[in-house]
Symmetry: C2
Subunit: 677 residues, 2 copies
């Protein structure tokens, strides 16, 4: 059995996580004031997560039970619930440590940049390695429990169920977390900064703790569950396709099939080890130059993964169909490279080091409307290269190893997930650390160090978001390939000349828009309720504005939590019910169109929203650094409007679309046997 | 030959146009001040149009000459150039009369609402009926010149060339006009209203004339050429598909084919007569209730067209393949009905009479950012129903009459184009009339009447925009069906299981975004240059602010013209070159994917931008009517930001996307024989 390798990789990852946790816990969380702020964030995040999980597991139950009574069987139901559980566990663990790392980062910043970076990246690495470690271990467990004697087309849906569970969890984590974080952020800013005229992260603002909680539940737990899902799905899509090869009447079909089934797990295992080495590199070399260290670590992980993939593919020596022995390697490489380019494109369009953001900042001189318009335009322009890269990856991978190759390209892109999530989760920790420094009234030089950490984190976060949508697209295409392979619809019926396909494409293309509008509405509603509450507190709590009384932060966290839980239901239902309804009523042909249409329109909208938001955020920050009049100027005010529009785009809508397209695809894959009847 | 019917319909339409022109010319254009303002607008519009046409015909030449030397032949080259000419002619005629109707509408408004409505709708009807009249006559001429003995798959490209010419013209008219109008509008507003604090349409603002010119070149000439294109394309797509039936080895194949070829022209001819009757109805009954008259006229045209289509289809008695005798009628009807529903959905989401705009206005109370965010969300939500309607029309039409039915559904939707354009062009005339009233210093009760006309026009404009994108989608799908039919690619190769198709879909889906970003950039640049000029004039012309000196309006018009001509080149090149480049280098399979991808993502973006912009515009106007604090309140300021963001969305980006998807499809259709080799 080939389960040893992922088992070892998963266990090593979790041991490294344990080491990091112990290391972090040993660090001092600073003064009592800092501890109490950090504790409030921890409590808020924990409370939100528990309530979110409760809701999600109710939904899981509602889905798992009927599934168990269909021909998919109780195995599928159990592995579905298990997938959700693993994702929840990774999210909880990662966020728990992230929220404990924030004050410790602030404290470390008092003694210098390097130490602070070390704490923040270690906190992020816990999330990153938990995601890949637990995902692999969970997969091993499912295979061991239900498919010990081999994965075949007949039991593939059990494995697929695991991915579907992870996907459902991700949907709620991303959209719930996204609504929470942006509702709280907008609420805090609009009353605090705009109406009351107090600085960001001012301790007098009752919504500041909620805002900080939001960073964690959205950008740490949400991103983690998003990439955990893509990670698992790319693997299971490759497996599902490989499993169909066993039935071919070629010599050694069964052997080849089984080798191809395990290849994605091997590559993923190698990626885990490469990610651990990358994190170690950053922790050691980060003291010299944080930005270079973070990028260097990412490249090292990618390079090592590529090397290991070559060795693995070469040693397996699989020749299937007309593809060369190294075919799968080239497929993996095409995914890996296009992932990097997609990430770098995001950096180019969202970092204030480059032209687009600078030009955007300048355009804010003509007022808020032009600023928003240009922000949209930057995001739109940024779709071109990533999409060409995705298209190229699909074509190259297919040329090299067929449909299987397309799924393996996704595996290649996602092999370094551990590293990507680590670097990405570092951002909110640095952000929180800055907030704590402000709230605890630490000297400005500490805030300067945390700001520096934060600005590095902004760039990595943009890369992470670009990577997340790119990988989601490729993972979804992988799932789709598996779905079409399994649903046994003749290729000709899925032709663009078929009106059912065209109708499906149109309907599918509309879904990301409808879904996004629901999320927008939920954010606005949640922000509105928070604004009312903050206004009330400023009005009714005597001495609050003077700084002699404490705000009631807990009520704000509670309002954001309720807003997020309420707001995530409708879009969640849409994502779950549409594939089921279309599949059962209109059949697999229309459904294929719907899935592809949702990918086509969702990828564009996802990239555009993520990069528009990122660019507007950093244009504002660049102005705040003292350019074009700096803070308080009219240009800055215009840029702030742009940033506020961009925030829900990049942190709620964009990331949630990733899940929408993946979840619909994985549901279709799991239920495919039922649609055929 | 079946050319008598369109000939008669076209000639009747042009006679009615002549009658309307004479009738309008007889009306008084008012005082000298009004005349001089109207003259400035006329001059500006004419100057822009001539320079635009010069540029476009250079491009036409660059394309027509090489085409003539390919296997497509010089017939195709000539009919291509002729198509562009016909569109230019219609645009010129319509706009000339529209700009002469504005002051006459203002003058009539001094004696009452009914008279003003009569002039404005007559002006609009000149555009509407010129579009359909000239389009039909041009088509008759092309068929008579080059396909007198019958349209076959071997000479269909000549007819298709005519549509391609109309499409190229439309591209530049829409994008050039769109850049002009929004650059001028934003430039005028941002300096005039925001910086100098003078009212809209104030005669001291040097950019006001440019703004009024923009309304005409964008909303009259641009819209007219857009719908002329859709109109012609829906007809020729049906013809091209019908022509392929002649080669089938069934009894009477040639006869059936020739009847099916002429059916779209018959239906279109009936639609022209129905539109004339609809316009007459409005002119007679408009005195009682303008809003109801406009809607009533639209319904009457649609009803008459449906009735006539039934009679025509029934009398032709065509039975082809397995479809029933009335099959084509049901296809036509499905298009007609879905067009109406698409229009009504636009009205619901963009009129201040209904919930969405009211809610949007309320959300402006939370500031500009929330206002913009919710405006986006409204547009996104509004995509759902129109897309479902389009999908339903495609499915029903295909069920009833196959691929031919899908193209005929587009014909059905577009049969009432004359009426739609008439009602839509009425809007800018009423808008201009208001501007002239303001600039000429007429008493407020006149302005009140023109404002009422304008507000009615806003609703009809929103319906027109929704209709334009819906019909563009259906026309493009019709063209696409014809293209796939002609390019003889096996259906299985166009399957969603083919990575080439998926790659094409992704690339195609990205194009509307890239295209839109270019337009945004052009608008911002043009607005910026105008802002600089207006600021300069306020600074350097002594007595301008005091009203003792006249502004230099001509320079502003010139700046907007140059900005539009420069700005339209890059997006134009993209639209023309992509299908050519993809077709020749990657072949017809990838190209099919690109076309479908562009339609799927373009339709969503088109509907969203049009309705977001419309909703934000009317939310602002509703506040200006005195709600939520009225003009000058913070809520109003927030809504103004939303409106300014929405303006280029609805008037530049959205409408241009219509053309992008159609132009790429028609180019592919014309060049299909070359891609196959």
């Amino acid at each position: 059995m080939g389960l040893w390798m992922p088992l070892v990789a998963g266990v090593v990852a979790m041991i490294f996580v344990l080491y990091l946790v112990i290391w972090i816990k040993k660090k001092s969380p600073g003064s009592d004031r800092m501890k109490s702020i950090s504790m409030a964030i921890q409590e808020g995040a924990k409370a939100f997560l528990f309530r979110e999980y409760k809701t999600v597991f109710l939904v899981v139950l509602v889905i798992a039970v009927p599934i168990s009574f269909t021909s998919l069987g109780w195995h599928t139901g159990v592995s579905f619930a298990f997938g959700a559980l693993v994702s929840a566990l990774a999210g909880y663990l990662g966020m728990r440590i992230a929220t404990q790392s924030n004050a410790r980062t602030t404290h470390a910043a008092q003694t210098g940049l390097n130490k602070a970076l070390g704490v923040a990246i270690s906190g992020g690495a816990v999330m990153g390695l938990s995601v890949v470690g637990l995902a692999l271990l969970g997969l091993v467990a499912v295979i061991f429990a239900f498919a010990r004697s081999g994965i075949t087309p007949d039991n593939a849906m059990v494995i697929n169920g695991y991915a579907m569970g992870a996907s459902l969890m991700a949907l709620f984590a991303r959209s719930g977390g996204g609504i929470f974080t942006k509702g709280a952020d907008m609420g805090a800013d609009l009353v605090g900064k705009v109406e009351a005229g107090i600085p960001e992260d001012d301790p007098r603002n009752p919504a500041v703790i909620a805002d900080n909680v939001g960073d964690n539940v959205g950008d740490v737990a949400g991103l983690g569950s998003d990439l955990l899902e893509s990670y698992v799905e790319s693997i299971i899509a490759s497996m599902a396709i490989a499993a169909t090869f066993a039935t071919l009447v070629t010599p050694n079909a069964a052997l080849i099939s089984s080798k191809l089934i395990f290849l994605p797990i091997y590559v993923a295992s190698a990626g885990v080890i490469a990610s651990i080495l990358g994190v170690a590199f950053i922790r050691i070399l980060g003291r010299f130059n944080p930005q270079s260290a973070l990028l260097g670590g990412t490249y090292i992980s990618a390079g090592l993964t590529a090397l290991a993939s070559y060795l693995i593919v070469n040693s397996l020596g699989i020749e299937f169909a007309s593809y060369s022995k190294l075919g799968p390697f080239w497929a993996i490489l095409s995914g890996l490279i296009s992932g990097i380019i997609v990430g770098l494109t995001s950096e180019y369009f969202t970092s204030s080091k480059y032209g687009p953001v600078r030009a955007l900042a300048h355009s804010a001189q003509s007022g808020p409307a032009i600023s928003v318009t240009n922000g949209m335009a930057v995001g739109m322009r940024s779709t071109a290269l990533p999409v060409l890269m995705l298209a190229a990856a699909v074509l190259v991978a297919h040329q090299m190893a067929g449909m299987y190759g397309v799924a393996m390209a996704a595996v290649g892109m996602l092999a370094t997930t551990g590293m990507v999530v680590a670097v990405d989760s570092y951002g909110p920790i640095a952000d929180n650390a800055g907030g704590i420094a402000e709230m605890a009234g630490l000297p400005p030089e500490v805030r300067k160090i945390t700001d520096h950490l934060d600005s590095v984190g902004n760039t990595t976060a943009a890369i992470g978001k670009g990577f997340a949508i790119g990988s989601a697209a490729l993972a979804a295409i992988g799932l789709l390939s598996a779905y079409m392979k399994i649903s046994h619809v003749e290729a000709a019926k899925l032709s663009l000349t078929e009106p059912k396909v065209v109708a499906g494409l149109l309907i599918g293309g509309m879904l990301p828009y409808l879904f996004s509008s629901m999320l927008f509405k939920a954010v606005a509603k949640s922000a509105f309720q928070l604004i009312e509450e903050v206004r009330r507190q400023f009005r009714e709590i005597p001495g609050l504005m003077e700084g002699t009384a404490m705000p009631d932060s807990a009520t704000c966290v509670d309002i954001s939590t309720k807003g997020a839980l309420r707001g995530m239901m409708l879009p969640g239902l849409l994502a779950v019910l549409v594939p089921v309804a279309v599949g059962f009523t209109m059949g697999p042909v229309v459904l294929s169109g719907v899935l592809v249409g949702a990918i086509v329109s969702g990828v564009m909208l996802g990239i555009q929203t993520a990069n528009s938001g990122g660019a507007m955020d950093n244009a504002k920050k660049w102005i705040e650094e003292g350019n074009l009049g700096g803070k308080g100027s009219d240009t800055h005010k215009a840029a702030v409007v742009g940033d506020t529009v961009g925030d829900p785009l990049k942190d709620t809508v964009g990331p949630s679309i990733n899940i929408l397209i993946k979840l619909m695809s994985v549901i279709s894959l799991v239920l495919a046997p039922l649609f055929m009847r």
